[in-house]
Subunit: 334 residues, 2 copies
Amino acid sequence: MKKLINKAEDFARETIEGIVLAHPESLKMLNENHHCVVRADEKKQGKVAIATGGGSGHLPLFLGYVGKGLADGVSVGNVFASPSAEVMHDIDKAIHAGAGVLHLYGNYGGDIMNFGMAADLAEMEDIEVTEVLGCDDVASAPKGKESKRRGVAGLLFAYKIAGAAAEDMLSLAEVTRVAQKTVDNTRTMGVALTPCIVPEAGKATFSIGEDEMEIGMGIHGEPGINRTKLKPIDEVVAEITNKILSDLSFEDGSEVSVLVNGLGGTPKEELYIAYRQVYKILQGKGIKIYRKYIGEYATSLEMAGMSVSLLRLDDELKKYIDRPCYSPFFEQSR
Amino acid sequence: MKKLINKAEDFARETIEGIVLAHPESLKMLNENHHCVVRADEKKQGKVAIATGGGSGHLPLFLGYVGKGLADGVSVGNVFASPSAEVMHDIDKAIHAGAGVLHLYGNYGGDIMNFGMAADLAEMEDIEVTEVLGCDDVASAPKGKESKRRGVAGLLFAYKIAGAAAEDMLSLAEVTRVAQKTVDNTRTMGVALTPCIVPEAGKATFSIGEDEMEIGMGIHGEPGINRTKLKPIDEVVAEITNKILSDLSFEDGSEVSVLVNGLGGTPKEELYIAYRQVYKILQGKGIKIYRKYIGEYATSLEMAGMSVSLLRLDDELKKYIDRPCYSPFFEQSR
């Protein structure tokens, strides 16, 4: 296991300590508990609060999307493990500003159970809670079973848009509607070339041949839909993009936002070669790219691979995706 | 070789094509030549122009530092190879706005030769050219032989500060002085855990044991100063930081900017664990951290490893490092 770490069991805590030391003007721990991180700036009374959370090992996901025009607090689990309902409840109480809390997170069993318990705890304290689950990974369940799909990099769009809607002082029902609409219009598929190693486990999350790749693999190493020999990236991106386009109807002249996401170990150069091919495919179909994100947005430690996400836009989503936002991990000023 | 690419010989060109397709409002090719990339916005007459350049494979270096408040044009070589004097000259002519051109780049033999020839060509066309070389890597030559040192991640500081000074309409002599002062006050040292593979070579740049790391290794795999068994990151960061601090005098109460840079394959989590230790060491010595950068700023394809850079600040450098800047790869709005 080649990692730049201290003790494996300290990995998540030391990561969060480093982040809070680096960005005290933006992020702070609650109760000196590294599982609970919230915005450091003053709460805006009457604004809908957005809580997220999930396992560590995916930076910038989830913590990196806590900031102005984004989420307000995050529950931080150990690597690839759900945080507890108790810390989720502590976050809800801390960020609630009189207008309710949206739980916005990825569609994973442990997180659903714990966020559900946290919602029950909130109800007992008269904090209204709604929930939207990212489930953008088309490789993880067939069309028609969208609610069974895993949440992956496409969550970025939901944070961006729901965060902007909340900043606009929309009601909890409206912020929830806009977040759900974003999820409903987001599709992602990825490819993995190498596994990653969870520090405490000390061994690879899966094994794969030196000349193989797996298309559709999840960000925790969940099985994909097609293990093949290495192929040129243009072929891989075409397979991914066409699968996404066949899953959601895009009309000639429709507008999309594109996210090409690196899983941690993939050079930026390769992500731009991938974007080049996405661009050509969409251009060939008359689909316009409205705003694009290329880089590491949701990772899996040092895993090599990438994913492509498309968000189908309408005027409302365009308005919110264009708004500025700021976190130490994700800044949009134009 | 596990890479998401098409043909190895197309790697650099396809990368640049993807970048220019993604960011046409910010960057454009000259003469449809992917070796020449300049700012897409209007030139500001009378502003000193800054040209940089170097081999591909280091994104965001070098191309990512072309933008507002940064450099104006970049010559792009093949992977780890210098661009030619001819493309450097084309860049100089394209970005010159009547106030001369600063060549700002890393201290490597091929680049020095080619930028030197480009400077001669510029002189024949009455374009005044000055030169500042990044040479921040303390592992690459001993104290007293600073001019022999390689330029690595610390170049970020020189782009940021020289770019801000040029945006302030300082003269060529003044922009050059400020850039040189930045270089003179910047020190970097890194550690590598794995090699990278240059696409056209198809094999690792060096070999290293499964339980080894090399401290002081260069970003092209140049030998470091100490190959050891894997050690806890706190020990590695202490060794690096103390080496830097012994190379440049820092007084109690002095202020520095910190850069913790990932080499391409290292998770952000590990970079923050490294920052945590840098913070503790500097705090222990009464050195104040004024502004910090943590992420991938100068990479070596998929190499696992990281570096720490310190810039010793004075009021003038603080003024310029604080200025906003924008490129698609490096945005500072606050």
